[in-house]
């Protein structure tokens, strides 16, 4: 057991240490966070990227003990800024074999800081299944054999009882059966419904034989440089969220508006991208955002200090699961647990979404996998026999649930599906492979039909993080972009993706939720300044973000992931056959968009390397030395 002293001179806004855990030896120690490290890498994704780059060599595979799994928060976590419970996970991921940056919220960030750490770095592999227990500066690996097989919610329930805690006294971030069985798209789920789901970070955790991280809400205070400034900037951001676009919409309804908002532009994926026509049986009035919320008994379930009407719990009103408490799906959940494979019964989708969270799988990839299976079943590339008796008919939620169980336990064809959509499709090959939605890096898109939303397709393909890297452009003029962005313009799209690069890296380093930072980067930088006392400007924030992006890019090149993989699969990059985006295609413009993107991000078009001048500017001489000799 590690017992640490209270720190007295940590940088303002920080607990002051990363918890290092070597699972092979069982050793735990503190890695102090000094001013320089904090200032240069901020937290979360920034610190994670640095550690990953420094400590994970080219020959290390995602499931090697030498891989690192970093769960870190940032300086705003635990402060009154909305959504300040943030967790960012960085590792070499199971899907792409490259860098990962994936986020969850809840209370991770607030609780771990109150227990004395800013993050956790796992290395090695444990002999036995363990969970990491953290409380008031102490940390301990404990036997987790009794937790094996439990889903993520059961794991938290069980630890509540075992530790005699309840409600927000304890945060548990765990893997479900999917992570235990090294499902390549397993995520890490925490606090009932918050999932860092991308790039198989849950499989990495499983490969290390860590079932869960249990963090008691401790009593170590967070000192900030300018408390009044912290309240003021939090109030400013909250005010903007409440009153101005784009935050206002998230403030009011979270992401519930996505289904009806994306359908008219052809951005809603339906039946594995085989169509963009809404199914006749879908009652779209039930999918209006307020209808989605009021269609269930809903309960607030916000993350730390968050005032958004975003995260909720639902109590299912009718059907076989009536009375069940589930997590209100995000837009991505409505799609991945339903629309992507043709299920438009919102009650079934809601329930299925939580089953994915409980099992610990990425709901996006789940959607693409099930959609693909159902399409293959319809086209007879897969038979009922192949699927162990499951009749995988479009939209059949029972079949989808059985497939979930099958892949989480790797039974039968589940063993193939467990490898993720790209590998499963390659396994089957032929016309079945052509039906699958993925990128050549192995990742799969979010729950949008990117054939209508080109920036996200480009972003997904060029990303170094295993998912969207730049994200949507919030307040684009701030970054030198026009206000009106044309999402099907071969010129606008790469500019948008390129000039936004770095913003998400910064947001994912500060310990908050990116929805609650749907404001100017300048306002975010000011909030970080109030906490840390360092005068971050918008340009500083983008600089730090770009730096993190360059580290991740360099890490991916080291891992053998280069520009040749930056394209969509056949289906993902296909031309919509119907609906609002019928006939629109990225294919003729793809090379042009890549050319433009590379030029603007200052990476070498051929090799993918960040250019030496950029690396000089980013003060990354060691990266320059590695990449350019």
């Amino acid at each position: 057991m590690l017992v640490t002293e209270k720190k007295r001179n940590q940088p303002a806004g920080y607990a002051g240490a990363l918890l290092r855990v070597d699972l092979t030896t069982g050793r735990l120690w503190e890695q102090p966070i000094d001013d320089e490290f904090a200032r240069s890498y901020v937290g979360g994704t920034g610190m994670g990227a640095r550690i990953l780059y420094d400590e994970v060599g080219a020959d290390v595979q995602w499931n090697d003990p030498e891989n690192r799994l970093i769960l870190a928060t940032g300086p705003l976590a635990g402060t009154p800024t909305w959504g300040s419970g943030g967790l960012s996970v960085v590792t070499k991921g199971a899907i792409t074999g490259g860098a990962t940056s994936t986020q969850a919220n809840g209370f991770f960030g607030a609780n771990i800081k109150s227990s004395g750490f800013d993050g956790i770095v796992f290395q090695g592999r444990s002999d036995q299944w363990v969970y990491l227990y953290i409380h008031n500066g102490t940390a301990e690996l404990r036997d987790a054999s009794h937790l094996l097989g439990l889903d993520t919610w059961e794991t938290q329930d069980h630890l509540y009882e075992e530790l005699g805690l309840s409600g927000h006294q304890l945060s548990v971030y765990s893997i479900g059966p999917s992570g235990e069985n090294l499902i390549r798209f397993a995520g890490i789920q925490g606090d009932y419904g918050h999932v860092a789901s991308k790039n198989g970070c849950g499989a990495v955790m499983g490969s290390k034989r860590v079932k869960a991280v249990a963090i008691v809400r401790g009593n170590r205070g967070i000192y900030v440089a300018d408390p009044r400034g912290v309240f003021r900037t939090a109030d400013d951001i909250a005010y903007q969220m409440r009153t101005e676009l784009p935050g206002q919409n998230f403030y009011l309804i979270g992401t519930l508006g996505g289904v009806t908002g994306l359908a008219p532009v052809g951005g809603l994926p339906i039946k594995n991208l085989t169509t963009n026509i809404l199914p006749a049986e879908a009652d779209m009035s039930k999918w209006e955002p307020m209808e989605l919320r009021e269609g269930f008994d809903h309960r607030g379930h916000q993350c730390n200090a968050c005032g958004m009407h975003h995260c909720h719990m639902q109590v299912i009103r009718d059907g076989v699961h009536a009375g069940d408490v589930v997590d209100e799906p995000e837009y991505e959940g409505w799609v991945g647990a339903g629309w992507a494979w043709g299920c438009t019964d919102r009650t079934k989708v809601s329930w299925m979404n939580t089953q994915c969270d409980r099992a610990g799988v990425d709901v996006n990839e789940f959607g693409w996998v099930i959609g693909w299976v159902m399409e293959c079943y319809e086209k007879e590339y897969l038979t009922r026999q192949d699927l162990g008796g499951i009749q995988a008919v479009w939209g059949d939620a029972d079949a989808a649930y059985e497939l979930l169980q099958m892949l989480c336990t790797r039974q039968g064809f589940g063993d193939v599906l467990a490898e993720g959509i790209k590998r499963a499709a390659e396994h089957l090959g032929g016309p079945a492979q052509d039906c699958a939605v993925y990128t050549m890096k192995g990742s799969s898109p979010r729950g949008h039909d990117h054939r209508a939303l080109w920036p996200e397709m480009l972003d997904t393909c060029v990303s170094s993080t295993g998912t969207l890297e730049s994200g949507g452009p919030t307040r684009p003029q701030e970054l030198g972009l026009p206000a009106t962005l044309q999402v099907q313009s071969p010129d606008d799209v790469p500019r948008q993706v390129a000039l936004t690069l770095g913003r998400r890296h910064f947001e994912d380093s500060i310990g908050t939720c990116f929805f609650t930072t749907s404001t100017t980067i300048a306002a975010i930088a000011e909030a970080v300044s109030a906490v840390t006392g360092w005068n971050y400007t918008k340009d500083d924030a983008m600089y730090l973000g770009r730096r993190t992006a360059a580290l991740m890019r360099a890490f991916n090149l080291r891992s053998g992931i280069g520009p040749e993989l930056e394209r969509p699969s056949a289906r993902y990059g296909s031309t919509p056959v119907d609906g609002p985006a019928a006939g629109v295609s990225t294919a003729p413009h793809w090379d042009h968009m890549l050319d433009t993107w590379y030029e603007l991000v200052e990476y070498d078009r051929e090799s993918g390397r960040p250019l030496p001048e950029l690396l000089d500017r980013l003060a990354l001489p060691e990266v320059k030395a590695e990449l350019w000799g």
Binding site: E140, E161, L163, S166, Q169
Partner: protein
Amino acid sequence: MAAKRHVIVGGGTAAINAITSIREFDQGASDIVLVAEERPYSRMVLPYYLGKRISRSHVWTLSPDRLAALGVTTQIGRRATALDTAQQRVTLDNGETVDYDDLLIATGSSAVRAPVPGADLPGVHSFWTLEQADGLIAEVKAGSEVVLVGAGFISFTILNSLVKLGVRLTVIELAPTILPRMIDPNGAAIVTRWLEQHGVTVQTGVRLNAIEEVAGRKRLVLDGGGELSADVVIMATGIRPNLGWLEGAGLEMGRGILVDDHMRTSAPNVYAAGDVAEAFDRVTGQRALHAIEPAAMEHGRIAGANMAGVDRAHRGTVLMNIVDVLDLEIASFGLWDDADAESVAVEKPSQWAYRRLLWHGQGEAMTGAIIIGISEHLWATNDVGILKGLVQDGQPMGAWKRAMMDNPWELKRPFVATGHVGRLLQETVLGRPSTPADEVNAARWVSPEAAALAAQTEV
């Protein structure tokens, strides 16, 4: 008509509360005479004085100014030696007498030393009065070897201070476990381990046979041949109510003075409160001696109200104690030691956390509890007070009883969901519906003379 004369004998918590209650209700319409051996001070704060956490001036309670403001006439430094209930007269140690219209006996208790040879040697201390505290402070030095005889509540209240003063401490206890009148053996085992981990030696089941003076130090001879050596010995072996002066007064006595729910003794116009009063226990409904500060407070307030002519009945006091040992909190409530109870006990060894919940006669109302935990953990919950609320309210928990037996760590949900808050909000010791700020000014009543004086001095 002459103003009614209240005589209060004793200057501790019960007396102070009686005086302020009388004044709260009569607004100065009566005479109050306070007879106290010493200038009133708070016994509860003496351990902090010992530990040099507070100044000596901090121990005083009713200052001369405050007494004047309350309109109290004092006989400080006088001891009552006899009571004549027929004449309604108290005799003092200087032979003077004081007549009363009504009388409150609040003479408290005294420390008792184990009856062993050498118990009265110089360097053998009790810790109960301010004078005794001063005596101990004069002798305890960093590095002193100190033996605390008795591992009860009083011992434990000064244990922190002694450790912080840097003494080398040994605690011996006759009973098989420490804190035998406060926690069960499971809890005692946890506290013992904690003490040992913090460098305090604990010996239980040990009888002290004699204390000897050897070359300026004390030698404690133990039953069975063992011995301990010490610079300072503190005898914390119990207390006894101060009832000697009442011999022949004819009051009905049990272990203390028997009182009814108005704190009335068997004699007309004579009340008793605090350590001397054998009053009602809230949980059992039976009379018991509760030599605890909250009982003295409640008794005093009830007695005061009734003496002021305001009829107030007392529902009894919940027996409760809390003490911390080097930031390990230990508390118990009600019938924590009830052999005829259904109970559940749980422990988190790595957290030093323990609790036991008890349900008398397998009933549905919680009747007792023990809670132990590290301060910084325990006070991050509402659990200490909630346990008190549960025992105090005494309402059946219905199905929640099972929930609490299953998971005694979660108290707030059963407590809140069963409506305890709503019921408790109706309850006050003196039965007032509410206390807005202006009524509190009444509680801090000031005589017109004192107010006038204060007004002058402000100018």
